[in-house]
């Protein structure tokens, strides 16, 4: 995978050096500054929200869910690639995952953190969010277990916890490497705390491998379950456009699709900026693009089956929803979704496109846009015209909707910038293992 000149020593040196030796670059400081400014915007938006209530957003009577839920589903979807890469590909012995799994796991965590903000903020009374949690209450009140929102609480919090633990366990040997290679004492202490006393003994390694494998096994079903549960929020409802059994698989495929798009959006600039083209190679781009193409086709199948069922069921409400999406007042949303999610990814059939970082970057951005539009279509466009024509309405995001959304992008990138600066973004220990194995071959 990497140039043959690499040894364990050079791998450790180079990868830990990204954090320990590399000087503060202007690009990094500038990037963090922009991201942090957007994070401050999020603070303002959230502060204003808590002062005034969700009425500052554009939500209204027919469309009671808007940006918050769109963004929630979008971020959660993005989170999926990390777990998919690190857990499922590990179990499938896809060794190429090694060089990108840390980064994508971090991406997962940060995306889930961004996603997790929205269900809290979208509550009319966020200060009583804990009503959704089964806690010992003197009134003996429990959540209402039939509601998919309760399932969401468990699905998302489990997913976040497992992702966090999995990511952290993977970090432990690398933190020890960082501790050992750091020059200043306080840095040693900080990494040393994180390394949990790792000494690299054979016993440590054996337990580490077992824990990592078990956690991979635990995380694997979560990849499928989280977005299935999120899709139940819609599928369980009676609303035409939501009430559909296709949703769980179609949402999971969409999540991995958007997750890989985000992975590429992030990795392509990072590998250029940090000179990691020999570690994150063309092959990685090629494979990630293939996953995107495959899941994109599954998503296309989902769209097709929705429209097919609308026609085949002969259910007038379903037919109406399909036509309303295409030709109703929100027609640009449907056409954007189809263009970005189905039409454009077809370019990935060509290898020359798949290994072209610039093209791939553009496609991945468009897929991110398309997936956001898809969630907008599902949430807003279904709600705005339901059964009784008298209650039909429209929805437009306000400045606060957009501020909150852009603010979470700020949060995501702030965390990401700090991550690449403070932690080894390429798993050192696993790369060393890879080097040894390659040499043995």
């Amino acid at each position: 995978m990497q140039s043959t000149a690499q040894t364990c020593e050079t791998v450790s040196d180079r990868l830990s050096g990204l954090v320990l030796k590399r000087p503060l670059g202007l690009a990094w400081v500038g990037g963090l500054a922009i991201a942090f400014t957007l994070l401050l915007l999020l603070n303002v938006a959230v502060g204003w929200l808590l002062m005034n209530g969700v009425g500052i957003w554009g939500i209204n009577q027919p469309v009671a869910w808007g940006f918050a839920i769109v963004n929630f589903v979008w971020w959660i979807g993005i989170g999926h690639a990390g777990t998919f890469i690190s857990a499922i590909l590990l179990l499938l012995h896809q060794h190429w995952r090694t060089s990108i799994n840390r980064f994508t796991e971090a991406m997962t965590l940060f995306a889930v953190a961004c996603a997790g903000i929205f269900p809290l903020l979208h509550l009319g009374r966020p200060w009583v969010f804990y009503f959704l949690v089964p806690y010992p209450d003197t009134m003996r009140l429990w959540p209402q277990w039939r509601s998919p929102l309760v399932w969401d609480v468990f699905a998302v919090s489990t997913y976040f916890t497992v992702s966090l633990v999995y990511w952290y366990i993977g970090l432990v040997p690398d933190l020890a490497t960082m501790r050992d290679r750091a020059k200043q004492r306080w840095i040693k202490i900080v990494y040393g705390i994180g390394a949990l006393g790792w000494r690299g003994s054979a016993k440590h390694w054996a337990r580490y491998e077992m824990a990592y494998l078990l956690l991979a096994g635990l995380a694997t079903p979560l990849v499928l379950s989280v977005h299935s549960v999120v899709s139940f929020d819609f599928a369980v409802a009676v609303l035409p456009g939501w009430h559909s059994t296709i949703f769980p698989p179609y949402f999971v495929a969409g999540a991995i699709f958007s997750g890989f798009a985000m992975v590429l959006t992030l990795l392509i600039p990072v590998r250029a900026a940090y000179g990691l083209k020999d570690i994150i190679t063309e092959r990685h781009l090629d494979l990630a693009a293939k996953v995107m193409l495959a899941t994109g086709l599954m998503v296309a199948l989902g769209y097709a089956s929705e429209h097919w069922m609308a026609w085949y069921s002969d259910e007038s409400n379903e037919e109406f929803v399909a036509l309303n999406r295409m030709f109703g007042p929100y027609w640009p949303v449907w056409w954007t979704t189809m263009t970005c999610n189905i039409l454009i990814p077809q370019a990935l059939w060509w290898r020359s496109v798949r290994i072209n970082p610039v093209l791939l970057f553009c496609i991945s951005i468009l897929v991110n846009v398309g997936m956001w539009a898809e969630r907008y279509m599902i949430v807003v466009v279904s709600l705005h015209r339901d059964f009784l024509p008298s209650s039909w309405g429209k929805f437009h995001g306000t400045i606060w909707d957009w501020s909150t959304f852009i603010g979470t992008i700020g949060l995501f990138f702030t965390l990401l910038f700090l991550f690449v600066r403070l932690l080894p973004m390429i798993p050192i220990a696993e790369m060393r293992k890879q080097t040894v194995e390659d040499e043995a071959k």
């Binding site: 005034n52 209530g53 969700v54 009425g55 500052i56 554009g58 939500i59 209204n60 009577q61 027919p62 009671a64 869910w65 979208h122 509550l123 009319g124 009374r125 966020p126 009583v128 969010f129 009503f131 959704l132 009140l141 429990w142 959540p143 209402q144 039939r146 509601s147 998919p148 929102l149 309760v150 609480v153 929020d233 369980v236 409802a237 009676v238 609303l239 007038s316 109406f320 709600l383 339901d386 059964f387 009784l388 024509p389 008298s390 209650s391 039909w392 309405g393 429209k394």
Partner: protein, 930 residues
């Protein structure tokens, strides 16, 4: 890794650097342990003291003597009456611990029959409106009543010297016999004083008439507002609903009108004509019935045959805004059909004996300097008078002018004095219906501000003693109803709300005067001016409930629009929602265009009452002031209007964006021959056994045949359930809070559609989709089958609203309830939670009323009787279209109605099994014309 260094013992370190020097642990001599504890105790006590909040001072005292029948927590009901456009609406007002909290119709009163109108309901908010006039004002500065008397008494002396020369009184429609008597006394005392009449919402009809709807089979309305605001719309609506639903011979209604009215919406056959054409059409009909001419078309021929088939059982009613000739034609038709004395009586105008002069004469006199003192009793002539009179300019010339009114409005601004008027719930008065039934208006609360009623003010001007409202009214009644035992008569009248010995009004010859000039056919469009359905001529502009109540045909709130038919708009290249300039007789007005199917061709209707410049915090600056186009020779519009598009876009605050039913038929229609509607089978298969309700299972049936679309239910619900208003900005975002809305659809031909109204409250589904998805169980089913909201459990996910197929749930997106204004606190129903920001709410079937009935029934150890629980909407409904009861009770009215062939549930294919169901709307078209 470094090799660990051997540990260096601390003993080696120099003593100076040791912060724990020997003796450091000892207390210093001058700071004893005892002293320390003292200081700590003192600090603690002081710290505790600082944490104390000074509690607000207030005294809670028990009643020294318990007022009779007042039990804290139990409401009392008092009969009173409201003067509305010169007639009495008998009311029953609920009082909680001395605060009036809800207005209902008085079932014993012939003018209301227990029903109430939007305006009667909304008066509650007017009473507590923080923007009401708080104090007398002189030239814009606060004054006192004593100050007023100080200036008025020398004036009065002066008036007496000159026998009232130069004194003018401007009055509105007066329904109070005592008031009329007082005015007669005023004219007797100051013989040269003159009375002038002006009422922009309730003009004197050119030919006042009383229709006996209960005896009518076929009605022809010539632009009459039978069911809208007006003299007797409550009884008319009920009588019409009865006749329409009569088994053997359902009634039929024909409407010929210029602009959509509730009458036209209920009509079996509706025809739209421009005002000038309507005049000719009425004449042609009269000629045809008299045999002088042939009917102009098949429609009219069929109409005439139908009328002639029902002599003495038909009626032709001409509208208040129609010129004398239409009324004469209507009268000729009624004469020819033998209806007079049977279904219609022509009566004198209520204030005929006072013979008031017109507003035009007053303005002329003012401009000629003949007026020295002008007293404006109610009303707002600076705003609501025709533009050509320039009332404001004339008013500026009057040395002594005074305005008496509930609000400090435009007129109050320009008068020397403004005197606050007591709200009718604060003052003694009386009122009379068209039938002559008298009732007393008794106050429910002491005046909130230093205000006086018109009776008290007139008594002041008449230098009479007594001057309290009670004494004035009682003395007047004693004089009018001399009885041996006046005390018991008085008490009984007060209790019942209507006088036991009503003197019927005497039919008399018509008074032929015509404020409504015929509109000459001029080139261009015709302008139609009408009072707004809810805020009338602007007198309710400050009432936020009425402002936010969607208008019956446009569902527009908080503003008015220029209503134009689709064809005319196309011909003139006008677009819906674009500003246009209306040019009429040299005056212009900017108003947004609203394309309204069912509007007469080549006509533009614009409703009065908007564009107020000083209505208060709520009503100022909304919409366009149509009085700017009104002229005194033709008050209700005329020919020669031009409309030019300005191209500027305007966003309407409407609560319904879709006008047609999109093939989904939420409103179903049936005809007498074929009354059954196709419905899904009741028993959809289920794995679970149906839930059994041991006690009552509440249900509601809404009869769309009876519903006139007046929205009284919406306002009644708003008052009963402490529902906030959200304001224009929030309506633009579609966040109105009404728990029961009245949907309006157009049906059929786009040029001449049928108007359908459908009240939609919560359906209280047996299989409620909202309950399933709430993550915290904040919306649940109760033991009587109600779908209830637990406000303090609601976290506000709004999932329930998304999953509600009927979209009847309402969310507090922001803090909508005004919890700061002290008077509004008094208004609230103490039995209904005031909802906070971030919680969902919706119709509860007036759970508090069900609970009250249950408690009473349990105490009396009997089941709840049918009809004992009446939700606010059903109670207010003028047409008895909403019926509520126990569907488990085989004998209940609601059970019987659920067996009707017209019975259906909304969206029954979703298997939600609603408890609120509908009866299809029965149309009774003339078979000759379909």
């Amino acid at each position: 890794m470094n090799t660990p260094q051997p540990h260096t013992p601390a003993a080696v370190q120099p003593r100076e650097e040791d912060e724990f020097a020997p003796g450091a642990a000892e207390w210093p001599e001058d700071f004893s342990r005892r002293r320390f504890l003292q200081i700590m105790a003192a600090s603690l006590a002081l710290a505790g003291g600082g944490a104390c909040t000074r509690l607000p001072h207030g005294e809670i005292l028990p009643y020294l003597r318990q007022p009779e029948s007042l039990v804290p927590g139990k409401p009392l009901y008092f009969a009173t009456s409201m003067n509305f456009g010169g007639t009495a609406q008998g009311l029953l007002v609920r009082s909680n611990e001395g605060r009036p909290t809800k207005i209902e119709g008085n079932p014993d009163h012939p003018g209301s029959l227990g029903r109430s109108s939007v305006h009667a309901q909304a008066e509650l908010l007017s009473l507590y409106d923080p923007a009401r006039s708080h104090t007398p004002m002189k030239l814009g500065h606060p004054e006192t009543w004593e100050g007023w008397l100080g200036e008025a008494l020398p004036r009065i002396a002066h008036w007496k010297e000159r026998e009232g020369a130069g004194v003018r009184l401007l009055i509105q429609r007066i329904g109070s016999p005592t008031m009329r008597a007082q005015l007669a006394q005023f004219l007797a005392k100051y013989p040269k004083a003159r009375l002038h009449f002006h009422d922009a919402a309730f003009p004197e009809s050119p030919m006042p008439a009383r229709v006996h709807h209960d005896r009518v089979q076929v009605v022809l309305s010539l632009d009459a507002e039978l069911f809208g605001h007006g003299a007797a719309h409550l009884s008319a609506a009920l009588a019409f609903a009865k006749s329409r639903l009569s088994e053997e011979q359902p009634g039929r209604l024909y409407a010929v009108e210029c602009t959509p009215t509730l009458t036209g919406a209920m009509a079996d056959h509706r025809r739209t004509l421009a005002p000038s054409a309507l005049v000719k059409y009425a004449q042609a009909l009269a000629d045809a019935v008299a045999g002088r001419a042939q009917p102009s078309d098949e429609w009219s021929a069929a109409l005439i045959r139908d009328l002639q088939k029902n002599p003495g059982r038909s009626v032709v009613v001409a509208g208040h805004f129609q010129p004398l000739s239409v009324h004469q034609a209507a009268r000729a038709l009624n004469e020819a059909l033998g209806n007079i004395g049977k279904t219609i009586d022509y009566t004198p105008a209520a204030a005929a004996e006072l013979a008031p002069a017109t507003l035009g004469e007053l303005v002329t006199a003012m401009n000629h300097g003949e007026v020295d003192s002008l007293l404006i009793l109610g009303g707002n002539p600076v705003y609501d008078t025709p533009a050509d009179l320039s009332f404001a300019a004339a008013l500026a010339k009057i040395p002594f002018s005074a305005h008496h009114g509930v609000y400090e409005n435009e007129t109050a601004q320009l008068c020397r004095w403004h005197l606050p008027e007591s709200h009718f719930l604060e003052a003694w008065s009386d009122a009379q219906t068209l039938d002559g039934a008298e009732s007393i208006g008794q106050p429910l609360i002491d005046p909130l501000y230093p205000s006086r009623s018109a009776h008290e003010l007139l008594a002041m001007l008449l230098e009479q003693v007594p001057t309290t409202g009670y004494e004035i009214i009682r003395a007047a009644w004693q004089k009018r109803h001399p009885a041996d035992d006046f005390e018991s008569f008085w008490r009984k009248t007060l209790h019942d709300g209507v006088a036991a010995n009503a003197a019927p009004a005497v039919p008399a010859a018509a008074r032929e005067s015509s404020p409504n000039a015929e509109t000459p056919a001029l080139a261009g469009l015709e302008l139609i001016l009408r009072p707004d359905a809810h805020i009338l001529d602007g007198r309710y502009a400050e009432n936020a409930w009425l402002q936010e109540l969607p208008k019956p045909f446009t569902q527009l709130t908080w503003e008015n629009a220029a209503l134009i038919s689709p064809q005319t708009a196309k011909a003139l290249r006008l677009e819906h929602g674009k500003l246009a300039e209306l040019r009429y007789r040299g005056r212009t007005l900017r108003a947004p265009v609203w394309i309204l199917p069912g509007q007469a061709e080549n006509c533009v209707t614009i409703h009065l009452g908007y564009g107020r410049s000083r209505a208060g915090t709520v009503g100022t600056g909304l919409g366009s002031n149509a009085f700017a186009l009104q002229t005194s020779d033709a008050l209700w519009g005329g020919g020669g209007l031009e409309v030019h598009s300005l191209g500027e876009r305007h966003t309407f605050a409407t609560t319904q964006s879709q006008q047609y039913m999109e093939g989904r038929d939420p409103v179903r229609l049936v005809t007498p021959g074929k009354t059954s509607v196709a419905t899904e089978s009741e028993s959809t298969p289920s794995l679970y056994p149906a839930w059994k309700y041991d006690g009552p299972a509440w249900g509601m049936v809404i009869d769309l045949s009876a519903c006139i679309g007046c929205s009284a239910c919406t306002i009644a619900c708003q008052a009963e359930n402490n529902i906030p208003v959200v304001g224009r900005e929030q309506v633009l975002r579609r966040r109105e809070m009404h728990w029961i809305r009245v949907d309006r659809y157009f049906d059929g031909d786009a040029a001449a559609p049928r108007f359908l109204h459908q009240p939609v409250p919560c359906m209280h589904c047996e299989n409620a989709p909202c309950e399933l998805v709430c993550p915290v169980g904040a919306t649940v089913h109760d033991h009587e089958g109600l779908n209830v909201m637990v406000y303090n459990r609601c976290v506000g996910t709004r999932y329930c609203s998304n999953n509600c197929p009927y979209k009847v749930r309402r969310f507090n997106f922001l803090k909508y309830n005004d919890t700061d204004s002290p008077t509004l606190k008094l208004m609230r129903n103490p039995n209904v939670t005031v909802r906070m920001r971030g919680v969902m709410e919706k119709c509860t079937y007036c759970l508090q009323r069900i609970s009250a009935a249950r408690i009473t029934a349990e105490k009396e150890q009997r089941p709840i009787r049918d009809g004992e629980v009446v939700p606010a909407c059903a109670q207010a409904c003028p047409a008895d279209a909403i019926i509520f009861g126990d569907i488990n009770d085989k004998a209940s009215r609601v059970t019987a109605l659920r067996k009707s062939p017209r019975h259906y549930s909304l969206l029954d294919d979703l298997n939600t099994r609603p408890r609120t169901t509908y009866l299809a709307r029965l149309r009774n078209p003339n078979p000759e014309i379909g």
